[in-house]
Structures are given as C-alpha cells and as structure tokens.
C-alpha cells in the first residue's frame, strides 16, 4: 500500500506539489489525470527518488516504510517501478546486459540469490515473447534506435521482469498507435495482482479504456482536487478539466 | 620548456621596426595609448611574424608571406576623398532592400564627409579612431585594447602598435538601431600599401544592432591589411555582424581580427564570406563573460587560384550556461588552400556550456588542400561539446541525377555547390542581407562556371 500524506515538493525554488494526499491500496489501479503542468510527472519523480527535488513537507510510505529517506536504487529494490514517459538510451549497453544487472542488483539488495544465466535468459525470453519484443532487440543497445512504441514495450518488459509492488506508468500511452497501445495495456493487465498496485498517469481517457482503473484522481496545481470511480474519466473526457481547475483555484 | 633561440629578423621585420620608430610620435593617442603601443611593439619584435611553428598558425606562414613590409597608408587627402566619393556608388552599390546607414573608410580611415552621419539615430555615437584615442577616457582605451582576447598573437600585437584608421561606434543602452550600419572600406592608392585599422563597437545593455562590413578593392595593387574589430556586447544586447572582406590581388596579405566579449543573456551572430585574394587570415577571439549568452560564428570560404584562406576561431567559455555555434563551409578549387582551426575552451566552472562546431569542405581540384583542426579544451564536466569536420567531393550520384534530368555538368555542379554554401548563409538573420550574401556567393560560383 502506498500512502502519500500532505506532500509538498519544489524544484529550483519553484513549488510544484502543494499538499498532495493519496492512498493506493494493494491490488488497486489508480489513475491520475490532469492538465499539462499540474505536477503529474513531478509526482512520479518524487515517489521514485529523482535528485533535484526538495520535499519541504509530508511523507510517502510504501507498506509503512518511509520512501523519502531512501536512494532511488533502494526504492527500486523495495518495489517501486517507474515506467518513464521518455525512456533513456544507454549506448553500448545491450538490453540483455542491462536487464541482468538490474534484476540481480535488486535481488541482491533484498538478500535473494542472483539468477543464474540460463534461468535469467529463460525469464527474459518468455517475457519478451509475451510482449512481442523480438529477440534481436534484446541484443541491441538499450533503447538506442528503438521506435517510440518499442521503447514503451521495453518499459513494460522491464516491469514484468522486475516484479514491482508499486508501479507508476507515466504517460505510457503517449506516442503509441492503437495496436501498440493494446499490446502495452495487455502487458500491464497481465501483471495485475492482489499484491501489486499501479499508479497510471495519463492525459487522455483513451488509455483507461484498456487499463481499467479502480479509482480516478484529478490533479491540478500540485494536489488532488477530485476523486471518483472510472466514470470520472469519461466525465473529464466530455467536459474537459476546466471545472476542476477552477475548483482548485 | 626549451628556450629556442629567436630566429633572425627578416628584412620586413627590420623595416617595421624602423617604421615604428619613425611613426611613433605621430601615431594618435596620449601617453596611455603610447604605452600600449610600445608594449605591443616589443611583443611583436620579440616574436616576429608568426610561422607554422606557432601552434595557432599551424597552417599559415605569415613570415614567409610578409617578405617585405609595405609603406603605411596615410590619411587620404581632400582630393582623394572627393574622387572616392564620386565612385562610391558604382564600386560599392547599396544592398538591395537594405536601407543601411553607411560609414565609409578610405584606406582604413573614417571619412565623415562620405558617411551617413547626419542620419544616425539618437543613442548612436560615431567617432574616428584617432579622435577616440586622443580624447577618449581610460575605459575606452581599455575597451580598444580588448584585454585577454588574442593575447600572445604577434599579428594582433602589430595591429595594436600601428593602429590608426578605424572608428568607434557606441550604441546606448536600450537602443534598437533599426537600420543596419554598413561599414564600407575603399582603397584609394594604386601604390602598394599597408593598412592598420582598429574599430570598436560597443552595445549598451539591451541594445540591438546589425553591422555589415563590406570591403571593396579594385585598384589591383598589393595591400597588406591588418585590421581589427572589437565588439563589446552588454547584458541582453544583440549584435548581428556580416563581414565581406575584399578580394585583394595575389601577393596581398589580409589579417582580419575580430575580438568579441559578451555579458549576460547577450547574443552575437557573425558571418564571414571570404572569397580569397592572396593570403587571408580571419581570426576571431570570443569570450563569454556573462551567463546565458549565445554566439554563432559562421561563414563560407570560396577559394580558387592560389588563394590561401585561414579561419581561426578561439571561443572561451568563462561563464556558465552559454551556447556557441561555429559553422563553416569551404569550396576549394585549383590550387587553393583552406584552413579551419576552431578551438573551444571551457574554463573550470563554465558548467552547462553547449558548444558545437562544424567545418565542411568540398575539394574541386587535385591541387586544392583543406586543413581542419577543430579543437576542444574542456575543464568543466557538465558540458555538451562536439565538433564535426568533413572533406569530400561533390556527390557523384547527385551530379549524375541532375545531369540525367538534363542539366549540363557545369550547371549541375554549380547548383550543388550553391546548395552546399547557401546553407552557411542561412545563419544570417536579416533576410535582405542574407539574400545579398547569397547573391555574392552566386556571383563567385557563376564566374567559376564561365571559366
């Protein structure tokens, strides 16, 4: 369970998150929607521990443990996963190499045994097949020369292999055509689990047709201004954000 | 480390030493200027003309080119000024669609009578260098000396010692000079002569100016030009600069210095079109003193015959968060030699520097040579710097494609060359001036096609 209580955060002296509170229960899929500049991506960075952000007040607890005290890699080992809006390219490092380094680093941090090479290969191959990731992509340098859709698929593949307890999908639908969107959504849905929760950040309602949320939160000016069920997303699609933005102001 | 004994003085150097002793007392400026000149002269005499053993002159031997030192041009007489005024319009027609304010120099000397001084808007002050040196305050003398820029360069030291022609242009803070200022340089004498000019352009905070330097020389005589332009650009000011040096006759040497310093959030965009004419050395020393400033140095070198054109740029990032761009295109025909030396220096602490330089050359003839030396010297870690250099020919496939569509080979070549060099002129912001430069380049290419 993820609990955010009265979070205030800023970057370069600029306040972005203003007293945000949010709870995502085990097994829940929560969606966050909001206009550009409402602080959605910042929230994902603050949860996952990107440097440069200053938390001035509030706390973020994952299963009761204070995330804010941990380094990004420690949070990852704790089960926090962020599917990036713009996944990074790492030239010269093959996808396979990267996956193995990450999986074993996390296992080691949790005191678990590292995967043997054949074991690891088997898992990756199976995961890749499910997501329609071709084998040759695994031998190429991570994300280098990948299309937008391939990069997003790679994010979901990483998520499936790292088996997080709390996954954030930051605008995972951006830049995807409808076929790619379906593949990615199927991949996410396959990972639904009573012990795993999701925070789906999106600008449009479209993604939520494929990844059906339990709850929908509207974010504006750094806080949650409205919470409802999945029908709230449809309402937003029809009426836009204007009403809610007004409410916050 | 190893003290090399100074090479013996050449006769040209000896002549210059004698000239200096003779001219010293009559050169413009008070005690402070005299001291500046003396120090520069001593520095020049200690080093002599640069040879290829001087790393910054790796591909250009000025000592060899300066086999003799020509007599220094004196200020033109009243008759000469009248004569130049009469042919100004034909020799240097106005740029199409550019309503410029003209500043006319004859043999390097500012001639108010031929210049559009009465049209100068408020906030724009223009003086001759001689006036400025004689009456200017300490700040002006220091500005002219451009401390820290081009230090150790013997050719610049020589200019400092002899500087006499030129002008000082001041744009007051906040003034946006709508009309481009066009500096036209003419040569009056048919006798071989040397010209040492230095000019200063100062932009106050937030000021904006477009400055065109156009040189014309039609008398067929040999010249030794050693001229410097100093640009001081204050906070938030913007200077666009286009320089079209004269095509001097073979045997001439032309050293053109540009010394620029930028304060914060300033912008400087400079373009040089070099069309050869003896030995040309274009050297730019630029320094970012304030943060968040941008500078672009671009140019095209169109060279044929035995032209030798050396473009050497030294860009110093001292302040953080600045961006520099260098972009040069060279076309080399016959036995021409092109040189591009670009050096970007990022000082410790100049974090977030973004520097990129490109030099692209096309060789058209077996006798042509292109030398590229794009250097990076980096002492700060959070930077993005890069350079690219290519040397190649016209693309055979493209040529064939154009020919297959019915273009004769020469026309097809000209078309591809035009596309190649025009890309550099795209960096000129002012559209009409850009069109003018592209037309000049087209003229060079057309002449080649006819040849």
């Amino acid at each position: 369970m993820l609990e955010i209580r009265n979070l205030h955060a800023e970057i370069d002296g600029k306040k972005i998150i203003n007293g945000l509170s949010l709870t995502v229960n085990d097994g829940e899929i929560a969606a966050i929607m909001g206009p550009n500049g409402s602080g959605k991506s910042t929230l994902s960075y603050v949860i996952s521990g990107r440097e440069g952000y200053t938390v001035t007040d509030g706390e973020i607890l994952l299963d009761g443990a204070n995330l804010l005290e941990m380094d990004a890699s420690v949070r990852a080992a704790k089960g926090v996963f962020l599917a990036f809006q713009y996944p990074l390219e790492i030239p010269g490092v093959t996808t396979m190499t990267f996956l193995k380094a990450c999986m074993n680093a996390q296992r080691k941090a949790r005191g678990e045994a590292e995967f043997s090479t054949p074991d690891f290969m088997k898992r990756v191959r199976a995961g890749a097949e499910k997501l329609g990731v071709p084998q040759d992509m695994l031998r190429r340098a991570l994300n280098v020369g990948f299309s937008g859709g391939e990069k997003k698929r790679m994010e979901v593949l990483q998520m499936s292999l790292l088996e997080p307890t709390f996954a954030i999908l930051d605008e995972t639908d951006s830049g995807l055509d409808i076929d790619a969107l379906r593949i990615v959504a199927d991949g996410v849905n396959a990972l639904r689990d009573p012990k795993r929760s999701f925070l789906v950040i999106t600008h449009y309602q479209r993604l939520l047709d494929y990844i059906v949320p339990d709850t929908v939160h509207v974010m504006s000016k750094g806080r949650i201004v409205k919470t409802g069920g999945k029908e709230l997303a449809l309402e937003l699609e029809a009426n836009g954000y204007r009403d809610f933005v007004g409410e916050a102001a | 480390m190893n003290a090399r004994s100074a090479p013996p003085q050449t006769s040209a150097e000896a002549k210059i030493a004698a000239d200096y002793v003779g001219a010293r007392l009559s050169l413009p400026g008070g005690h402070a200027v005299a001291d500046l000149r003396d120090a520069a002269f001593d520095a020049f005499m200690a080093a002599g003309f640069p040879t290829r053993r001087v790393e910054a002159w790796h591909y250009t031997d000025l000592k060899r080119a300066m086999s003799e030192a020509l007599p220094i041009a004196s200020p033109p007489s009243a008759t000469s000024i009248l004569a130049q005024g009469a042919r100004l319009a034909s020799l240097c027609p106005r740029m199409e669609d550019v309503d410029s304010l003209r500043v006319v120099l004859v043999d390097g000397h500012f001639i108010p009578a031929l210049s559009d001084v009465v049209r100068l808007p408020q906030g724009v002050a223009l003086h001759s260098l001689a006036d400025a040196l004689a009456h200017g305050d300490a700040a002006l003398i220091e500005a002219l000396a451009a401390p820290g820029l081009g230090q150790g360069d013997a050719a610049l030291a020589l200019n400092t010692a002899f500087m006499q022609g030129g002008f000082v242009l001041d744009i007051a803070a906040g003034v946006d000079v709508v009309h481009p200022i066009e500096v036209v340089s003419l040569s009056s004498s048919v006798a071989a002569q040397a010209i040492y000019g230095r000019s200063l352009v100062r932009l106050g905070a937030g000021a904006r100016l477009t400055l065109v330097e156009a040189e014309a020389c039609d008398n067929g005589s040999i010249e030794q030009r050693n001229c410097a332009l100093v640009c001081q650009i204050a906070d938030d000011a913007t200077l666009e600069h286009v320089f079209v040096p004269a095509e001097l006759s073979q045997g001439s040497t032309h050293v053109a210095h540009l010394l620029a310093s930028l304060q914060s959030r300033a912008s400087f965009n400079s373009f040089t079109l070099a069309r050869g004419g003896g030995l040309v050395r274009r050297q730019v020393f630029l320094r970012f003193d304030g943060d968040h400033s941008k500078a672009q140095l671009a140019g095209a070198n169109l060279l044929k015959g035995r032209d030798h054109c050396d473009t050497t740029l030294i860009v110093q990032h001292v302040a953080p968060h600045c961006e520099s761009r260098e972009y040069f295109k060279s076309v080399l025909d016959e036995e021409a030699t092109g040189v591009y030396q670009g050096k970007v220096i990022v000082a410790p602490g100049a974090q977030k520097t973004d520097g990129a330089m490109k030099s692209h050359a096309i060789l058209l003839s077996d006798g042509a040579t292109m030398n590229n030396k794009p250097e990076l010297e980096i002492f700060a870690d959070d930077v993005v710097c890069g350079h690219g250099a290519t040397v190649s020919q016209l693309d055979e496939d493209q040529l064939f494609y154009a020919q297959a569509r019915g273009l004769p080979k020469h026309d097809a070549e000209a078309m591809l060359l035009e596309a190649f060099v025009d890309e550099s002129a795209d960096r000129i912001e002012n559209e009409a001036i850009r069109a003018h430069v592209i037309a000049l380049m087209g003229g060079w290419l057309a002449a080649r096609r006819r040849a």
């Binding site: 074993n104 680093a105 | 077996d366 010297e377 700060a380």
Partner: protein, 489 residues
C-alpha cells in the same frame, strides 16, 4: 551483468591507490653504471654481444640524440628528466638470457605467476587458458623467457627476443630495424635507438597465419631504471598475426622512464593486429611516482592491401605520450586505431594516432574513447593526412570524451589535412558527462550510482573493447572500473 558486478566488487575491495601490480621483487641484478655516455651504449651493446654494425648504429643514434631537444608540444607537464641519474641497463643476475624455463630463477617465475602471466607451456596446454598465447617475458632490460618457440618454429614463425634475433636472423634485423621509425625520428625514439635493451622480434613468413596469439609482457622492477624496449614485427606477404602487449611496474615514489619503440611492417596482403593493455604504475592519487611513458609506435603498410590495426587500453602511467600510427604506403592498405584512454588522479594522457595516406584507395578508421576523472588531463591528438597522390583516401574518425567530476580536463586536437580532391574524411567528436537522466534511469531500475556509472562507462567504450581478443577484453573491462575507482561521487 556479471562483469559489472565483478568490477564493482573489485573496486570496493581495493584501497584508495588501487594499483595491484605494485609489488617489488628483490632479485639481484646486473646493472650498467649510472648515467648515459658512449661507454653506457658500448656496455649495453657488449652485454648483448652485438655485431659491430649494431654498436655503431647505437652510437650514431646517441650522438644525434645529444644534438636534439626534448619535445614540449604535448599537453603534459613534468619536472625535467635528469638523464644522467638513470640506469640504462639492468638484468636479473641469474638469468643472463632466455633459456630453458627450468633454468630460470624460480623467484622470477613467481613474479610472473603473481602477475597472472603463464610461462609454463604445460600449464597452458593443461587448459588453464582456453586460447593458447605464446609469451615473451621481458624483465627490466632482458627477456627472461619465451614460450612456444618450438611450436611456432614449425609454422616458420620466428618469435624471440630481439637480442637473440640480432644473432639468429641478422639479415632480417638489419633490413628492418629503424626502417619505420628512423633513428632520428624524435627525441625519445633516438634515445631508444641508442640504449634499447630488449623486446620482441616477430617474423611471419609468406602465407602463414600465426597459429596462436603472440604476446610480450613487460615488467619494470629495478629502481631508477629506464626501460627502453624495442619491438619489431614483420608480416610477410599474405600472413597474419595478432600480437598482445602488457606492462606493469612496482609502486615507487619516484618516476620511472619508459621510452619504447615499436615498428610494424606489413607486406602485400598481410595483416598485423597489435593490442596493448598499458597498465604501468600511474602514481598515487596525489601524483607521486608513476611511469613516464614516451612511446613511439608506428606501422608501415608497405604492401598493397595490407592492414595494420592498433588497439590500446591505456589506464596506467603518470604521463602517457603515445601515438601509434600507420603509414598507408601500399595501395588499398588499411589502418585502424581503436583506443580507450582513462585518466584518474593526477595522470596526464596525451595520446592519439597518425594516419598518413600515401597510396591509392587507402582507408583508415579511428575510434577513440577518452575518460577523464579525478584531477587528470586527457588529450586526444590525431593527424589524418592525404598526400597529393593518395587518390580516394578515406578516413572516418570518431572521438568521444567523457568527463567524471569537475576537476579534470578533456581535450581534443585533431589535424585533418587533405591534399587530394578525391579524399573523403569524416571526423566527429563529442565531449560530455554521464547524463543525470541516464543515471536516474539506471538507479530507478535498482542499480547503485557506482554500478550505474560502471555500466554506462562500459557501454561508452564498448566499440573499442570489441576489438580486443576475448581474454584481453575481460581483463581490460575490469581494469577500466579499477582505474575509475574513487571517481564516482
């Protein structure tokens, strides 16, 4: 990735000054008197029982050296070297020359054991290593052992110390010595010509593909002793050889001079692949001690369609001054230079290459990856030049620098000279640091800052690592992380 994990573990296990080959072995040695004079030159020549022509060749070099001045154009700074305060010859007393391994001083064998260099053929054959490598081990001024000589001889390959080749194959040595790097080429090469001690000699006869990798392992042991090795490799028509070079030295407070000369010659259709992992003692983190490495390496693609490929991983030395070059004389010949140069602490690296295109249709390729950390300075200096008659010369250069920390410097000085209208040269260079975004991405996936940096750096140098023979690549990868130890903040 196992290798990444391993490097990180190793980085953690070493102390601040991570050099692991820094031990000194007390072996009684036979030295020339200190200082340099004609007598020193004669002493060395006499020790090696050299023919008169070679003694004269050395003396000529020495006399010319006296008239030369030390070059000062490189971006390196060091106190003046006192050439009279050095020993120019030092040999383990017990081992006057290479011989049967059983006769080699067991103490010496233990040194190589400690360094991980296999000198006992039977151990190699017993499968300690998957690939067999013949080794010439040079200890200070002499070669102490050369393995697999007999087996190589069956293929017609000559692989022996150059001091031995002078006697066994004088016609070859006389013909090729100094033919690529002339006696007066430069200050350090001339010094080497006067006092060179030992090094390897390789001759591959026409049409022979050398049946195993050849390797020379250089070790400086003695104090105040310069090492001046000389390597000469000739690949005759249609032959091929892959040659590896490794080097280490003890940790010492004072600097030691290493001025080597390597000459490669390829005839028609021949190929030499020359790989170096240079791991001389770099000095401590404050810049005390370390090797001054002034090396002249040059290959002459004399024959048509011949090829020379240099691969270097430079992690050691206080000062590196080194430009392995190719003279592309033969038509359609090809030169390659792949380099990883890492500097940390107070190291100064000025390294690069020259590709001189003389023949028709010659091609060259340069991939250089520089990594600077600590308070070091790392300079790439390269020249690509096409002469008038070098029609269709082609070069591609890629030169990237990575900065780790704000107190180091990275510099790029290329000279690109085209004197032929049919030349096509492409040069690209970048300088940057590891991006914060990349680091965060890796950390979000669970990697620590150290692991993330090691991973990204390994990716950065991968193009070059792939050029190394397998076992060297693994070793080099480990070395890279060790060299960057302490640089990740």
């Amino acid at each position: 990735m196992a290798a990444v994990q391993e490097t990180v573990d190793r980085v953690k296990s070493v102390d601040v000054d991570a050099y692991k080959y820094g031990f000194f072995t007390d072996i009684e040695s036979d030295k020339a008197p200190k200082g340099l004079s004609e007598d020193t030159v004669r002493f060395i020549s006499a020790k090696k029982n050299e023919p008169v022509w070679l003694t004269e060749w050395r003396l000529d070099a020495y006399r010319r050296w006296l008239t030369m001045t030390e070059p000062d154009w490189a971006r390196v700074e060091y106190p003046k070297i006192d050439y009279q305060d050095l020993y120019y010859y030092s040999a383990p007393k017990s081992s006057p020359g290479p011989k049967n391994l059983d006769e080699v001083d067991p103490e010496l064998l233990r040194v190589y054991e400690k360094l991980g260099i296999p000198l006992r053929e039977q151990e190699v054959l017993a499968g300690v290593q998957e690939r067999r490598v013949a080794v010439d081990a040079v200890f200070d001024s002499v070669s102490v052992a050369t393995t697999f000589k007999a087996e190589l001889a069956k293929a017609g390959v000559i692989f022996c110390p150059i001091s031995e080749a002078v006697h066994s194959h004088p016609e070859l040595v006389k013909k090729y010595l100094g033919s690529v790097v002339p006696v007066t080429d430069n200050y350090f090469a001339t010094l080497n010509s006067a006092v060179f001690s030992d090094g390897s000699f390789v001759y591959i006869p026409p049409g022979v593909r050398c049946p195993m990798e050849l390797s020379t392992y250089f070790r400086i042991n003695e104090q105040n002793t310069g090492q001046f090795e000389r390597t000469l490799i000739i690949a005759d028509k249609g032959s091929y050889v892959s040659y590896l070079e490794g080097c280490t030295a003890p940790k010492r407070d004072e600097n030691q001079l290493h001025a080597a000369v390597v000459e490669l010659i390829t005839h028609d259709d021949a190929e030499i692949k020359y790989s170096t992992v240079q791991n001389w003692y770099p000095g401590d983190s404050e810049g005390k001690g370390g090797i001054y490495n002034f090396v002249t390496k040059r290959g002459d693609c004399r024959g048509a369609r011949s090829k020379i490929s240099w691969t270097q991983v430079e992690t050691g030395s206080a000062i590196t001054w080194k430009y392995p070059s190719c003279i592309l004389r033969g038509d359609e010949s090809r030169g390659e230079f792949y380099s990883i140069a890492i500097s940390n602490g107070r190291q100064q690296v000025d390294s690069g290459t020259k590709m001189i295109h003389l023949g028709k249709n010659t091609t060259s390729r340069i991939i250089s990856k520089g990594i600077s950390a600590g308070r070091s300075n790392n300079t790439y200096r390269g020249q690509v030049s096409a002469h008038r008659k070098a029609t269709n010369a082609r070069n591609f250069t890629n030169c990237d620098s990575l900065l780790i920390g704000e107190t180091c410097g990275a510099h790029t000085i290329p000279y690109i000279e085209a004197k032929n209208a049919t030349a096509v040269f492409e040069h690209e260079a970048t300088t940057s640091k590891i991006s914060e975004d990349q680091l965060f991405y890796c950390k979000q996936r669970g990697l620590s800052a150290e692991e993330a940096t090691a991973l990204i750096v390994n990716g950065f140098v991968r193009d070059v690592l792939q050029q190394l023979p397998m076992e060297f690549a693994v070793e080099a990868q480990k070395l890279i992380s060790i060299s960057l130890e302490g640089s990740v903040g």
